[in-house]
Symmetry: D2
Subunit: 410 residues, 4 copies
C-alpha cells in the first residue's frame, strides 16, 4: 500500500542507533518533518547527545523536545500501580509496561502543540510495546496517524539497516556493529533484558546481563535495615527523610542494588500471543511491593484487601497489555485508590543478599488490636461463644447439602 | 446451658498437655467415652507417647487411633493446593489451613466406624482452626455433635487449667509450667508461630521462634542447585530421583532448611475478624511454589494462566476460612486440575541464603517457541503486519470513546 | 445470661403489633427509656398512628422520631445500586436489602443525638434483616449495644406474644389475632412476601399476595410507551418531565403497577444459611433496570460494561448480606460511579402486560457509530484487513498449543 | 499480496447467494477444489437445494457434505452453555455465537478426512463471526489456511457482486436483487436480525423483522402451563415426555413462539470494537434459562450458585468472542459441570404474552428445607442465638475499623 501523506511526526527518540535510523527513514520515506521527543525516565543515559544527534539529522531546534519526566513517571504511574500490589503472572513488576503510556501521552501532547498529524515509535512488530504505545496514542487522540517503522520498512536484515545508516551518515557505535547479545529496556523502575543469549529458557541467564543489581553472592554479609513511611499508600520517606517520588525510588534502587535485591528470570506470555523469556531487575520496586504489603497488613480492612487481591490480576493484565488509558483501568484505579485513604504508617525493612523482609510495622491508623488477638481473655468485645454461632450458620448450608447427599445417595 | 448427652467422642489428640486436659475434661464433664485420633502429619514428634498417655488416661486400647497420614496429606491436600499457586493475602502458603480438613475427615471416618456421636478438637475460640475443623465436620457429617472445649469450659486462667491437670494426674512437662513464649503448629508443609513474643507487629521476630529453617545469614555461602520434575502439575522427582509426595516434600524441606528458605513474618486477617501476627516457615512449600510457577510458565497457555491467577485469591480464601469440603472449592479445583494436564517437565532450582530462583525450565510439552520470539524474522507463522490489525481493532472502541469525549467536552 | 444495663434504646418502630410489643418489652425487661424511629420509606402506610401508639406506650414526645426519608432512600441507596444493574442470584432486585442500611444509619444518628447507648429492631432470628441492621449498626457505631428481641425473649408461641400484648394494653387489630397468611415488607422500591402460604416452592403463589402490581392478565390490552432521561446513570425525567428521585420512582411504580410489571417468585439463598421462597414486586425497579441497561448500551464503553458485569454479583452479594457500610462496597461503588460519568441520554420504554421492552435509545453521548457498523464500506477508520491481524494474533497462542498437543499426543 | 496456492478448501456453504458466489470465487480466484459443508442447525431451511446448487457449480458429488447436526448442536453446545445461565451483557443469549464453533469443528473434520489444506466461510470483515470461525479453525488445526473472501475480494459494491454472480450463472432469487432490509442468522436456538432498517437504535424494530415469535399482543389470552424435567442441569422432558435435546428445544421454541416469548432488541458491543444493534428471538432459550434458574434455585448450594454467577460474565464473553475451543473455556466448563451433578427435578413454567414465569419447583434433590425456614421454631438445628455470634464475628473487622476511624479522625 502507498504511504499516506504525513506532514509532521512526533517520534519517541532515544538517540540510539535504531531510533536514529527511524528518524532518517521518516524523513526520507515519508518526507515528513520529524519532531523528536526524548524523555528522561531514569534509564541512566545522558540526554543531551540525543539533541546533538537530532540536530545532526536535520531536525529543527524547535522540534527537539527533551524532558525529565522522572517525578511524573513515579508519582502518576509507578506509585498508583504499586497501590494495587500489581504483579503480572505472579511475578513481573511491569517495569516496561508502565512507562509506555507516559511516553505516548507526552508525544500526543507535543503533537497537539506542534500541529503534528502523526506519531512514531521504535518498537518491533513482535513485542508488547508497539501495542502499549499505539493503544495509548489512539485512546488519547483517536485520529492520529501512527507510523510503526519496524512493521513497515523493507530492511531484510541487520546488515541492510546498517547500510541505510551509513548511507545517511548515522553514527554507529563500534559495539553496535555486531549484534547485541541481548536487548535492553530501562527506566527508573527497572531494567529488562531479553533475546539472544536469553532465548533458551533452559539455560541460566549469564551474570553479565544484570545491570541494576549486584549478585546476592556479592552483596554485603551484613543486612541493611531501614524504615519506610507511607501516606495514602505511597511511600514518602526513608529512615525518616521525606523524599519526592523519584528521589525515593532512586534511593530504593540504590539500596536494592547493593543488596542484590530484585532480580527476576522468567518466561512470560506476551499480549501478541507468544511466550518470551526475560530477565528483569526491579530493585526498588521489589522493596516497595514488600513494604506496601507490610503497611497494608496493619492498616487495610480484610474486605478491602481481599477485593484488591481479586482485582489485581485483571488490573495487571490491563497494564501489561497496554490498556492504561481505558475506562476499565480507571474504574479499577478508583476502587484501589479508595482503599488507600488510611494506608499510612511505617515499616521496617531488612535487605540481605537478595532477600527483602518486613520485620516491623507500626501506624497510628493500625487495625491490629493486640487486645483482640491475645490468648488471654481480654476486656474487649470478643466473646468466645460468638464463634459457635458464626461457625454454625456458616456451616448450615453445607449441613443441609450433606443431608441431601445422604438422602439421595442412599 | 446444660450439656447434651454424649456417648462417644472422637478427639483430635496430640498427646500434648492441652489435648490431654481436654481428654480428661470430656471424660469427667461429659461422662463420654473418648476415642483419640493422633495423626502423623509430619509435625516431627513421636506418636507412641500419645498412645501411652491415652492409655494412662483410661482410654481403651481399641479406642486409640494413631495414623501416619503424611502421604495422604501431601498427595490429596498439599499438592492440589499448590496446583493453584495458592497464597493467602499475597504471602501466606496456608500450611495450617490445609491440614485441618484432613484431620477432621479422619475423625469423622473414625466416628462412623466406632459409632461415636461427637467429635472434639483443641483449638481456641479466637482462631481460624476451630472454624476449619467444625465446618469440615458439619460438611461431612451434618448431624455430628461438636464439642469445642476451649469455648465451653470455665477455666479462667492457665493456673486453673494446670490445677485441673494435676488433679487428674496429667503429666506436665517442666517447660509447660510457665507460659510458652509463643504457640506453635507444625506439619510436613510448615510450622507456624504466634502469640506472646510475636504479638507486637512492630517488633522483629526473635531468632528463637524459627525451627524449620536456619537463618539466611547462617546458610552456606555456596548455592544449592537441583532439578525438579513435574507431572500434571505435581512434583515427582528431585535431581531425577522419583519420590512419593511426602518423601519429596520432606526432601524439599531439608533443602530449604539448609539454605534459609521459606521464612515469613506477617500480619494476616483471620476469618473470625481480627488481625493476627504470625511467623511461618514453609521451606519446601516456598520452593515448590516457585518451581511450579516455573514449569507452568512454559507449559501453560496464557488463557489458563490468567484465569488461574484470577481465581486463586478466592480459592485461597476458601481454604484459609475452612471451606475445603464445599461445592465451590470443588468447582474451582475442577477448573484448576483441568489446566494441569500438560504441566509436565523439569525446572532447575537454585537456593542461596533465603533466595529461591528458577534458573532453567524445559519440557517436551513446552509452549515456548524460540522461532516465534526471536528477533529475526522467522519461518514461522508470525507476520508483523498482523500486529497492526490487532492493535487497530483492540483500540477501536477507545478511539470511538475518545471522539465522543472530544465531541461532548467541546 | 443477665441483661446488660441499658439507659436509652433507639427502636426501629413501625407502629405495628410486633414492634409495639418490642417497645413495651424493652421498657419492662430492660427498664430502658425507648426512643422510637419511624421512617416513611414509601411503604404506603400512615405514620401518625405510630406517634399515637408510641405516646400511648409512654414514650416521651421528644423521643418520637418520624421522618420522611423517601428522597434520601432513592437518591443515596436505590439509584447507586441500580447504577450497577444489581440483581442477586440472577433475579432479585434487593428491595428489602437496600432499605435496611438507611434505617440503621438513621437510628445511629438519633442515638448519637439523644445519647442512647443501644439500638433495637424487630427482625427475627432466622432472616437476613437482623444481619443487615446489626452489621450496619456496628460499622457506624462500634460500641453501640444491640438488642434483638426476637433472639432474646422467651415467648414460646404467638399466643404468648399476644398475651403479653394484652397484659400491656397493646391494641391488636382484629386481623392480627389469627396468624397472617404471609409476611410482608414494603418500601418505595418493592414489596416482599414470604412465609406460610408461600412456603411450599412447588405451589404457585396465590394472586392475593400481590399488592404492588395487577396481574399481567388484568393489565390493559394496549401498551404504555414513554421516555426516560438519564444523567450520570440516574433517571431524571419521565416523558421529558424532570422529577426528584422519589417522585420518579413513584411514577415508575404506577406505570409498572398498571401494566403488571415487576413480579418475581423465587427461591433464594439467605446469608444465614437456608433457602427461602419469596414473592417480590418491584414494578418501578424492574423498569429502571431495563432502562438503565438500555442507556448504558449506547453510552458505556465495552471495557467498562464487562467489568461492571463481572463485579456486579459480588456487589449484589454485599448488599444482600448487609455489608453496605463497608470499605469493599465503597470500593466497588467508586468503580461503578466512575463508569457512569457519561451515561446520559434517553430511552423509550414500552410496557405491556408484564413485559418491559426498550424500543429506542438516543444520546448526545452515544458511542454507537452507524458509519462503523454499516455493511457498506464507509469513510471511517475500519479496514477489513485489520480483522485478519486481529484474529491471527488472538489465535496465535491457541495455534501454538494445538501444535504442542499434536506433538505430545503423537 | 499474491494468493497462496490452495489445493482443496472446505467451505461453510448455506446454498444462499453469498456463499454461492464465494464458492465460485474460490474456484476461479484460487483455482481450488471446493468441498462444501452444509449443516442443518435448525435454521429452518431445506438443505437439498444446497446440494443441487453445489453440483451445478461443479462441486464433485463426493465433495458435498450435508449433515443434520441439530442434536449435537443442542447437546454439546447449547445445553452446556445454559448450565452456566449464560447471558452476554446482561441480555443476549448467544444464539449465533454458540453455533459457530460447531460449524468450524465440522469443517476441520472434513478437511482432515478429505486432505484439504484450507477452510473458508462467508462472514464479513466487520462482524464477530469471522473471529469465531477462524479462532476455532486455528485452535483445532493450527496450520490450516483460512480464506475469508469478504476480507479479500475486490468487489466494491453489491452490484459488482451480482455482476460476478451473473457472469458465473449463479441463480439470484428475485428478492435478492434489491438489498435485503436486514440480515439474518438462524439456528435451532435463535434467529438474529441486524443491519439496514435496524441500524438506528433510536427507532423501534419493525414487526416484520420477527420470524420466530408472534408479538405478545397476538399471543393467546390464556396462559400456557407445563412442566420441565431436568437431569444434571439439562432439560430432559416436557410435561413428563422425555425428549432428545433437539426435540426438546424445538418443542420449547414452539411454546415460546406461540406465546410471544423470547424477543430481544438491544445494542451490543462486538469483539471487533464497535457497537451494533440487533434483534434476537430465542423463544426456547428464554424459557430454558428461566427454568434452569428455577431448578437450580432449589438444588444448588449457595456457594456454587454465587461462584457460577461470578464466573458467568467471563464465560459468556469467551463464547461471544469465539473462544469456545480454549483451555480457559474448558476450565470454566469443568467448574460449571461439576456444579450440576444434582441439578435434577421439575419446574412448572407459565407462559403468557411474552412472560415466562416459574410458578413451581420440586426435586428429590432439593436443598429447600421448610422446617428450617418456617417462622415457627422448629425441631431442626437452627438456634436463633447462633445468629448473634454470626453477626458479631462478621461485624468484628468493621467495628475495629470504625474505632480506628473515630480515633484518627478525632
Amino acid at each position: 500500500m502507498s504511504k499516506p501523506a504525513i506532514k509532521k511526526v512526533v517520534l519517541a527518540y532515544s538517540g540510539g542507533l535504531d531510533t536514529s535510523i527511524i528518524l532518517k527513514w521518516l524523513q526520507t520515506e515519508y518526507g515528513a518533518e520529524v519532531i523528536t521527543f526524548t524523555a528522561d525516565l531514569g534509564q541512566g543515559e545522558e540526554l543531551e547527545p540525543a539533541r546533538a544527534k537530532a540536530l545532526a539529522a536535520g531536525v529543527k531546534p524547535e522540534n527537539i523536545f527533551i524532558e525529565d519526566v522522572r517525578e511524573e513517571f513515579v508519582r502518576d504511574f509507578v506509585f498508583p500501580m504499586f497501590r494495587a500490589n500489581t504483579v503480572y503472572e505472579g511475578q513481573y513488576l511491569l517495569g516496561t509496561s508502565i512507562a509506555r503510556p507516559l511516553i505516548a501521552q507526552k508525544q500526543i501532547e507535543i503533537a497537539r502543540k506542534m500541529g503534528a498529524d502523526a506519531v512514531s515509535h521504535g518498537s518491533t512488530g513482535k513485542g508488547n510495546d508497539q501495542v502499549r504505545y499505539e493503544v495509548a496514542y489512539y485512546a488519547l487522540e483517536p485520529d492520529i496517524h501512527v507510523i510503526a517503522p519496524w512493521r513497515e520498512w523493507d530492511f531484510k536484515s541487520r546488515e541492510a539497516l546498517l547500510e541505510f545508516a551509513e548511507q545517511h551518515q548515522i553514527q554507529i557505535a563500534k559495539d553496535k556493529r555486531g549484534e547485541a547479545p541481548f536487548s535492553v529496556d530501562a527506566n527508573l523502575l527497572h531494567s529488562s533484558s531479553e533475546g539472544k543469549v536469553l532465548e533458551d529458557p533452559a539455560v541460566e541467564a549469564p551474570e553479565f546481563v544484570y545491570m541494576r543489581t549486584i549478585a546476592p553472592e556479592d552483596a554485603p554479609d551484613k543486612a541493611t535495615v531501614f524504615t519506610m513511611d507511607f501516606e495514602k499508600g505511597d511511600p514518602t520517606a526513608i529512615d525518616g527523610v521525606k523524599m519526592s517520588p523519584a528521589t525515593l525510588l532512586t534511593k530504593l534502587n540504590e539500596l536494592g542494588y547493593a543488596n542484590g535485591v530484585g532480580r527476576l528470570d522468567l518466561v512470560e506470555n506476551r499480549y501478541v500471543g507468544m511466550k518470551s523469556r526475560g530477565v528483569y531487575e526491579t530493585p526498588g520496586g521489589t522493596i516497595l511491593l514488600a513494604a506496601h504489603r507490610g503497611i497494608e497488613s496493619i492498616t487495610l480492612d480484610r474486605g478491602s484487601m481481599h477485593l484488591k487481591d481479586e482485582l489485581m490480576p485483571r488490573y495487571a493484565e490491563l497494564i501489561y497489555n497496554g490498556f492504561w488509558f481505558t475506562p476499565e483501568r480507571e474504574m479499577l484505579q478508583a476502587a484501589i485508590d479508595h482503599s488507600q485513604a488510611m494506608v499510612n504508617g511505617q515499616v521496617t525493612v531488612k535487605l540481605y543478599k537478595g532477600n527483602t523482609t518486613i520485620i516491623g510495622r507500626t501506624s497510628p491508623y493500625s487495625l491490629y488490636d493486640q487486645d483482640l488477638v491475645t490468648f488471654e481473655e481480654g476486656k474487649v468485645a470478643y466473646d468466645h461463644n460468638d464463634a459457635s454461632g458464626f461457625i454454625k450458620l456458616n456451616a448450615l448450608r453445607l449441613r443441609v447439602a450433606a443431608k441431601r447427599d445422604k438422602r439421595v445417595k442412599g
